[in-house]
């Protein structure tokens, strides 16, 4: 009898784990980035291009772009929006690619998923370090998978921080989206040239 209960428990726990596709989605993405980008011996350019592909596929860039631009998104033309999204993606990819240099073997442990508003989900995780870092992934269902709409590190929402940053820039620059796009391009080039010099 005991054996049967044990087997049942094992089966159930496996099912619970396997039936959380949101965790699987983030776990697979983190694993892919870790193997192909962070710990691989590829060149910086190759790593950046692989990360760019993974990032643009996993993140709902159009939705995030709308949010971070706030009211300026509604007033912007289609071309301005597309140019902004491209510059935003370039800068974000370059910034994150630079952050991977600091990686020194920390592990990411997933703790579960829970509901957010509008049918979206949160996946809770912790990066194990001397001071553990809480990372929450906000996902929205898309087709038969998910898209990342926010990453929250120690309760700091990435999209909220970008929105505040860009709102302030726009306020000081005649609410001009092209000026913001130009600034993002300039920042990307700066990061690119700095990382080449290092």
């Amino acid at each position: 009898m005991k054996k049967i209960i044990c087997m049942l428990l094992i089966l159930l726990s496996t099912r619970v784990w396997a039936s959380d596709p949101a965790i699987d989605f983030v776990d697979h993405l983190a694993d892919q980035i870790l193997t192909d980008v962070v710990t691989s011996d590829k060149t910086k350019e190759e790593k950046e291009s692989l990360f760019n592909k993974a990032f643009t596929e996993a993140v709902d860039l159009k939705g995030v772009g709308q949010f971070v631009l706030g009211t300026a998104w509604k007033k912007a033309t289609e071309t301005e929006r597309a140019d902004f999204l491209q510059a935003f993606t370039d800068l974000t990819v370059k910034t994150w690619a630079n952050r991977f240099d600091a990686y020194s073997g920390q592990e990411i442990v997933f703790q579960g998923s829970r509901n957010a508003e509008r049918g979206q989900l949160y996946v809770d995780s912790v990066i194990q370090d001397k001071q553990p870092v809480e990372v929450i992934w906000r996902l929205r269902p898309s087709k038969d998978s998910y898209k990342i709409v926010d990453i929250i590190i120690e309760d700091v929402s990435m999209v909220s921080t970008y929105r505040n940053d860009y709102r302030s820039f726009l306020q000081q620059n005649d609410n001009s989206v092209p000026k913001l796009t130009e600034e993002l391009h300039r920042k990307s080039l700066e990061i690119g040239s700095n990382s080449k010099n290092n």
């Binding site: 709902d60 939705g63 949010f67 009211t71 929402s157 505040n164 940053d165 302030s168 920042k187 700095n194």
Partner: protein, 260 residues
């Protein structure tokens, strides 16, 4: 003397720059209230002063310190000052009625002061003892000053804060045992504070470089991040949110038109 300088500095900057103008557009007004920074012109002046002091003094010294001093020694400096601050964290944990935190802080202090050789080695963290770092800003929140802690304040040298937590920082620094132990040794006291400051700046070098490079308005980014992160520390002492209540980090995506 130093205190007088800061009061004078604040008054001059305040008179010269004044307050931010409240917008009339509803969307703009919502954003204005969200950031809660009515003294923005003054805060930006203090930020500019901080940036100058950092560029020409703090950052070069911290960078040199990183180059010259090996990382194990820097870790020991961090642990030493962290351990010295534990009595302040302990008092705050008691004032907040956080018995679990008080126990952890006491445990840390006992373990690190003995096995950690006067706090030079953080054996408590290795043993899995948490470091809750209870501060007086949290104590004020626990006593009833909830919410975002009043308007945003950019403190000279110390950086982003708000009225409640700025007062908290002041009280915590007055209560710090180093000041009392070295009451008659002010030169040594200020020397140690300088080492603590340089060490803390060194630890933040990578983060601040990263943020400066990636943000279009560094001031707005610091303001936003510090406010969000501070909410986490405040919520830690106010207790978990009730189930079903929206977490503070949940942004409102209602304006976004999602595409599949």
């Amino acid at each position: 003397m130093r205190k007088n300088f800061f009061v004078l500095f604040f008054c001059c900057v305040g008179i010269l720059t004044g307050c931010a103008t409240k917008p009339t557009d509803p969307e703009e007004l919502k954003a204005y209230e969200e950031v809660n920074d009515p003294w923005e012109p003054m805060n930006r002046s203090v930020h500019a002063f901080n940036q100058g002091a950092d560029k020409y003094v703090l950052k070069p010294v911290a960078t040199g310190y990183r180059k010259v001093v090996p990382s194990f020694f820097r870790d020991a400096v961090t642990s030493f000052f962290d351990n010295l601050a534990q009595p302040v964290h302990f008092a705050n944990a008691l004032l907040q009625g956080q018995s679990k935190d008080a126990g952890a802080v006491l445990g840390r202090f006992a373990v690190n002061s003995t096995f950690g050789f006067f706090g030079l080695f953080d054996v408590a963290s290795e043993a899995g003892i948490p470091n809750p770092e209870n501060d007086f800003g949290q104590t004020l929140a626990k006593w009833g000053w909830k919410g975002d802690g009043g308007p945003f304040v950019m403190l000279p040298v110390l950086g982003p804060s708000n009225v409640r937590d700025g007062i908290g920082t002041g009280v915590d620094s007055l209560a710090h045992p180093l000041g009392w132990a070295l009451w008659n040794e002010q030169e040594l006291h200020y020397g140690l504070l300088a080492v603590d400051g340089v060490n803390a700046r060194e630890r933040a070098l990578d983060l601040t470089d990263d943020l400066q490079k990636s943000s279009t308005d560094y001031y707005a980014t610091l303001r936003s991040m510090s406010r969000q992160n501070r909410k986490k520390k405040i919520n830690a002492v106010l207790g978990e949110k009730e189930s079903g209540e929206k977490p503070d980090y949940e942004v409102d995506f209602s304006d976004v038109e999602w595409e599949d």
